[in-house]
């Protein structure tokens, strides 16, 4: 149980760290607030299976955000350096 708790906390920290570069005006603040609200909504979850499913969802979100950043960077650099 404590292992799941530490996993949840490390996932939260990871998502907060990823949110620094979120695009858009006030992007980082909005993203961090959404992550905070999502974690707060599920804070009373006790079933380990459900927690594992939610953790998988969180990791999926982290991958999606990473993909967003790398795609944005790739497209910008490609546009600038490819005629």
């Amino acid at each position: 149980m404590s292992q799941l708790r530490s996993k949840v906390i490390s996932l939260y920290k990871h998502l907060q760290y990823l949110g620094r570069d979120y695009p858009g005006l006030n992007g980082p603040q909005k993203f961090r607030k959404q992550v905070h609200d999502a974690f707060m909504k599920n804070k009373d979850e006790k079933d380990p299976k459900k927690i594992v499913a939610l953790l998988a969802q969180g990791r999926y979100l982290a991958k999606e955000v990473e993909a967003l950043y790398s795609l944005k960077k790739y497209r910008t650099i490609k546009q600038r350096y490819n005629d």
């Binding site: 920290k13 760290y17 594992v52 990791r59 960077k73 790739y74 490609k78």
Partner: protein, 296 residues
């Protein structure tokens, strides 16, 4: 027991860091080096990667009111995108057991250590920071950097030097080529794909007409182009681990490189504002306008 199952479900096999007896065979374990035969280890290359701290690609660059440079105070800086691709390629080679060690080098003032830490977090083993004072750094040119990198490559006994194609702040596209010239090593620039063979490297290069495949021997200098790979995002645990990795500080004088400026910046100005275009009604009007403008 349950935790073992949990780990096997949540994390892929090759990432089992905390599973006791299996961790020696994961690619990132420091002792996994021992699982390779001595012969294979001798063939593995030591890779030197050059990274540069530049203004972040997404930031709108502004010219200073004094017109002698761009605004860098308080502006977000990060690693040059092409250098990220170079670091990723070096780390991939290490994971495929083609490279034994990845050394990240940066030339610049104290803040350059941030990008070395990012490179260490992405998987490099050691960092070298060549300290140059800020005033001298403004006038530092690829000719100086290439001599520094060449000396470091010889000192660290590197077999491969991977650099980014160009830096997004000066767009010089000279450092890799000059480093190869100083070292008298073969160069593979604008790499799209790098494969290691017994004889050396097979490189696909992006040129105007398409892709060119060349074969070079090691040691060599490579410059990474955009489509070589997709760089990984450094995770928080890796950043924490990177703080413990060794970072050596040297000065250009220690390396015997003269960094006196060869240029003087006279002025830096905005490019001219783009003139608005005009929409014409039909082809005749277009031809008439072109004739009037003296273009045909």
């Amino acid at each position: 027991m349950i935790s073992l199952l949990f780990n096997s479900v949540a994390t892929p096999f090759w990432k089992w860091q905390r599973c006791g007896k299996y961790n020696l065979w994961t690619p990132n374990h420091p002792l996994s080096f021992l699982t390779i035969s001595a012969v294979a280890r001798k063939k593995m290359a030591r890779v030197l990667v050059g990274v540069k701290r530049v203004i972040d690609y997404a930031v709108k660059v502004r010219v200073k009111p004094e017109k002698n440079g761009v605004v860098t105070q308080g502006v977000k800086h990060s690693m040059n995108p092409f250098d990220e691709i170079a670091v990723e390629e070096a780390v991939k080679m290490k994971e495929k057991k083609l490279a034994s060690e990845v050394i990240a080098v940066s030339v610049g003032p104290t803040q350059s250590q941030e990008v070395i830490r990012t490179a260490l977090a992405m998987g490099a083993d050691r960092g070298v920071h060549v300290e140059v004072p800020a005033a001298e750094y403004d006038l530092l040119q690829p000719i100086h950097v290439s001599k520094i990198l060449a000396k470091l490559a010889l000192d660290e006994k590197a077999d491969l030097v991977i650099l980014g194609k160009q830096a997004i702040d000066d767009d010089a596209n000279q450092t890799a080529q000059m480093t190869a010239a100083v070292l008298d090593w073969p160069q593979g620039t604008f790499c799209n794909k790098v494969e290691k063979t017994d004889a050396g490297l097979t490189i696909a290069r992006e040129i105007d007409g398409g892709l060119e495949t060349i074969k070079t021997k090691l040691p060599a200098v490579l410059s990474a182009d955009l489509r070589l790979n997709t760089p990984r995002y450094a995770t928080l645990p890796n950043i924490m681990k990177a703080k413990k990795k060794p970072l050596k500080k040297v000065t250009p004088k220690d390396l015997g490189v003269d960094t006196t400026p060869r240029i003087e910046i006279i002025s830096v100005e905005d490019p001219p504002v783009r003139q608005a275009g005009a929409v014409v009604a039909d082809v005749d009007a277009l031809v008439a306008k072109l004739k009037a403008g003296g273009h045909i």
